[in-house]
């Protein structure tokens, strides 16, 4: 019995010991995110971002390059997902302890950044007059982080849309990659029907039509909001035309909707569909099927016929860095970006191996970007994508862009599967978004 009592006491002491040990984490002059606030000049930047193979790798490469001229420089990259960043941002702002929680630099998806800046205006630093030359970035990309005419972000990777096709399947149906270059959506659907008939395969697939519709709408500079930020979905020619084209594709079996991301990628890798259209980051998933090397080729996306401002270029995804107002040494953070993401060809050359394609236009001039890709039949894919990136039209982004996209998708789904009327559904979608906006 005494032994048991001893064991219990020991357990209690151990628990206390561990607790006490960990409780002192805070007492060594550091605040919660490891920032050393006691030092006079802070030489360390803390970063929040996700994806070790892509974003985190890029940040670490940038840090190594910056360290060459600034030996004292330190960087801590905290791995945290996009959804968790949004949650932490909202909890810490409502708890009023952003100073303890937020890091110096945060990465955001391009589709979310305007919304976050508008929701938490005091959290992000205005970079308009920081000395970073935004004219050297692709115009459409910069637009994603401009709110009320002010720049809040340093653009990072390209989300330039590509259309990638299986040349062997196209050949079977009697087409080449040139037949799908610089075309309109109407022409695309005609070819798609033919390919479907001859090979039984859809030209495209996707996890719902969310990404596809974004690609189409962006390509003609369309948005759910006008220049003044006013919502317009029901009386919007571009939105309507894109919806009609998408529905036509779906009905003809040219576009195949999938139930999840894994089936989307699975059908691509299995060769069940003849192509993929998405942000250029989709290439890493396509290239996972190494046995299909040489069978793929990329080209630009079709343009939306029948509307003004239509182009063959678009974007989907990509992300942007922001500097928070909690940053202890803003000069350091700005100088860091000027020397790397907004000023170093060496940096962009080094991260190209992870398929991180620059939106900083001078990077595309480097030799590395001219290399040919064996997987894509010897095409100079990187140089091509940089060229696409520069031509992406800029679109009005609103704080409720994500909400509007989801509402638009719901409307299209209702028309496709419940036979509802498109005009009525778009009007209903507008009401939903207006309600969320509190208008």
């Amino acid at each position: 019995m005494r032994k048991r009592l001893m064991a219990l006491c020991l357990a209690v002491v151990m628990v206390m010991g561990i607790l006490a040990g960990c409780g002192s984490d805070k007492d060594n002059g550091k605040t919660n995110d490891g920032k050393d606030k006691n030092a006079e000049t802070v030489n360390k930047l803390t970063v929040w971002c996700w994806d070790p193979a892509f974003n985190i790798n890029a940040m670490n490469v940038a840090a190594d390059i910056y360290k060459k001229d600034h030996p004292d420089f330190e960087m801590e990259v905290v791995e945290i997902s996009s959804a968790d960043i949004i949650q932490k941002l909202s909890t810490s702002t409502s708890a009023g302890n952003t100073a303890d929680v937020l890091p110096d630099i945060i990465l955001f998806d391009d589709g979310l950044i305007a919304q976050e800046v508008l929701s938490y205006p005091d959290v992000f630093m205005d970079l308009t007059d920081s000395g970073i030359d935004f004219s050297e970035f692709s115009e459409g990309k910069v637009a994603a982080s401009v709110v009320d005419g002010k720049n809040y972000g340093v653009p990072f990777d390209s989300g330039a849309a590509i259309a990638a096709y299986r040349v062997d399947i196209l050949k079977e149906a009697g087409y080449t990659i040139e037949d799908l270059t610089d075309i309109t959506w109407s022409e695309f659907i005609k070819i798609g029907k033919d390919v479907k008939q001859k090979t039984g395969k859809a030209l495209l697939n996707g996890q719902s039509g969310y990404n596809q519709i974004t690609v189409m709408l962006t390509s003609c500079g369309g948005s759910y909001f006008d220049e003044d930020g006013k919502l317009n979905m029901s009386d919007n020619k571009k939105v309507k035309r894109v919806s009609e084209l998408y529905l036509e594709m779906l009905e003809a079996g040219v576009f195949q909707e999938e139930t999840g991301w894994d089936t989307y990628i699975g059908n691509l890798n299995n060769g069940n569909v003849a192509g993929a259209m998405n942000g250029c980051w989709i290439m890493s998933s396509i290239q996972a099927a190494a046995d299909q090397s040489g069978l793929w080729a990329i080209t630009n996306v079709p343009k939306v016929d029948g509307v003004d401002g239509a182009t063959n270029y678009s974007s989907q995804g990509g992300s942007t860095w922001t500097i928070t107002t909690e940053c202890d040494n803003p000069e350091l953070a700005i100088d860091f970006f000027k020397s790397t993401f907004a000023g170093s060809k060496e940096f962009y050359d080094k991260i190209l191996e992870t398929s991180a394609i620059s939106t900083w236009i001078p990077a595309g001039e480097s030799e590395t970007y001219q290399q040919e890709s064996e997987f894509f039949g010897g095409q100079k894919v990187y140089a091509t994508i940089v060229d696409f990136t520069a031509k992406i039209p800029s679109c009005v982004m609103g704080a409720y862009m994500g909400t509007a996209r989801t509402a638009h998708m719901t409307a299209v789904t209702n028309v496709a599967y419940s036979g509802a009327d498109l005009d009525e559904e778009l009007a209903a979608a507008e009401e939903t978004v207006a309600f969320e906006m509190g208008q």
């Binding site: 561990i18 995110d33 490891g34 996700w50 994806d51 070790p52 949650q87 299995n270 980051w281």
Partner: protein
């Protein structure tokens, strides 16, 4: 005739049970198979074991701090479990043995709090902890799960079958209240302790939302956080992901099977006299 009927009935029952258990076991078997395959084969729907296990392990180790995350998870879960069963058993014992009208009402109030989901109390708790400086500390991490109404209730219900006469007898013999608790109650309630430990351990092991909210340091990453981070990239390596899921499932399986017998006894409230 009756015998044939009996066997047919039994056969049908067993077939239904086998089918149901296959449904339950399949996801686990699938994870097991998937962890040995390359990502591209998994999305292609391959259902036979592959030879990619070592490569998957290599990718995890290369990109993530698997050992660090495992150690953190073990540390947090163990501390939470030990602290929780001590606190909750004392509370459950107290509510039952020293009960009066007001303690019963208090217990009723506690039971009502079970209906409030954690997500709705999360923010106020976070704000309180932020003010107390408990962000990014182990104490802040484990504190919300140390005292749970469910575990207190488990101990209280099971204390009902603990013979009160023995307590009276011990008091007459001059044993202290603490002595009664540690020398008589704890050894008798082993099964309940095992059940409480299993549940608390599993909850602590899988704790994600709170962990993510209160910890913002790479060094404090736990296995659920690590797995969640694996699904955020442009390209998801399903092979690596499934292996990580498997690794993180094993300890809870081991704990459950080790304490399985006591767990069932503890949940059903048996006291071995």
């Amino acid at each position: 005739m009756n015998k044939t009927k009996y066997w047919i009935g039994r056969g049908i029952k067993n077939i239904i049970l086998i089918i149901c258990s296959l449904f339950c076991v399949f996801p686990l078997v699938w994870v097991l198979i998937a962890s040995t395959n390359a990502s591209v084969d998994i999305v292609r729907g391959v259902l036979v074991p592959g030879k990619h296990l070592l490569e998957n392990l290599k990718s995890i180790v290369e990109h993530y701090d698997l050992l660090g995350a495992s150690w953190n998870t073990i540390k947090y879960s163990a501390v939470t479990t030990i602290a929780s069963i001590i606190v909750c058993s004392v509370a459950g014992y107290g509510f039952e043995v020293y009960h009066d009208k007001w303690k019963d009402r208090l217990f009723g109030a506690l039971m009502i709090t079970m209906m409030i989901p954690f997500v709705s109390t999360m923010l106020p708790i976070y704000q309180t902890y932020a003010k107390l400086g408990l962000l990014n500390t182990t104490l802040g991490f484990i504190l919300p799960s140390v005292s749970t109404v469910f575990t207190i209730m488990l101990f209280r219900q099971n204390s009902r079958s603990f013979p009160k006469d023995i307590i009276e007898a011990a008091r007459i013999d001059g044993e202290t209240e603490l002595g009664i608790f540690f020398k008589m109650y704890v050894p008798t309630m082993k099964a309940t302790y095992a059940a409480a430990a299993t549940i608390t351990f599993m909850n602590a092991w899988n704790n994600y939302m709170w962990a993510r909210l209160i910890m913002s340091d790479n060094r404090a990453q736990t296995l659920p956080m690590l797995i969640s981070n694996m699904t955020t990239g442009h390209y998801i390596d399903y092979g690596m992901l499934m292996l990580a899921v498997l690794i993180s499932t094993l300890p809870t399986l081991i704990v459950f099977f080790a304490l399985q017998r006591s767990f069932v006894e503890g949940m059903t409230g048996a006291v071995k006299g």
